[in-house]
Point group: C2
Chain length 133, copies 2
């Protein structure tokens, strides 16, 4: 929907890019594999190659529009970058993902980095487990 974001990233506003950004914004699921996006495009009768999905996602990542995470399972998942950092709770069985943000943890991370003479450029924290029914 926001073709301005694509333009801002120095990318031409093409149909594949708009469709993919639209899915990331409005598909209802924030955390998607490239394959998921590809299948949703097929379902929507969009003739977009999987290779293009990967290329676009990588460009979006470079532009700061999306984040790429490496959850367990050997594949990456992508989510819209809403500007606010957050971490993840991942249900091992269902794959359900819940985001959270904790001030205390963020503060400690910075302190720990400092103690180690380390400058954080980014970080991920993933808690794997099960949600109660």
């Amino acid at each position: 929907m926001q073709s301005s974001d694509i333009k801002k990233a120095g990318l031409k506003v093409t149909l594949p890019r708009m469709k993919i950004l639209d899915l990331l914004e409005n598909s209802g699921e924030r955390h998607l594999k490239a394959e998921d996006i590809y299948k949703m495009l097929l379902d929507a009768d969009e003739d977009i190659a999987l290779a293009t999905v990967y290329r676009v996602l990588t460009q979006f990542e470079t532009a700061g529009l999306v984040n790429r995470h490496h959850f367990e399972g050997g594949h990456a998942i992508f989510e819209l970058n809403d500007g606010e950092h957050h971490d993840h709770l991942v249900d091992i069985k269902t794959g359900r993902v819940v985001e959270f943000y904790d001030e205390i943890i963020e503060k400690r991370q910075k302190e720990i980095a400092k103690e180690n003479g380390f400058t954080i450029s980014e970080h991920t924290m993933i808690l794997y487990g099960n949600f109660e029914e």
Copy 2:
């Protein structure tokens, strides 16, 4: 060196398993890719297949002897499980890895899980960045 660990895991004490465990314990680098281990074995003139390295590492993981982590880069890294959980600082440029453990963070993680009706079975936290020279 500790063939007893292998036996305890219900696995036969074979040369490949001993060599791989030895590397994990004494190679000087705690965080290794399967490929790294394979190359070290080649350098040591051990005729062990990459497939075996993967099989053994997976068995060790199941037995709780090693942990598998998914750092950035599309490959898994393996480290000896010394029984104590810890998190990682990873240098983006050099690949250097430093482990740390923080009581305050661990405590907050448990509280956050509780707030979300979530039972943690394991978790990873990785800070990516740069160490000062």
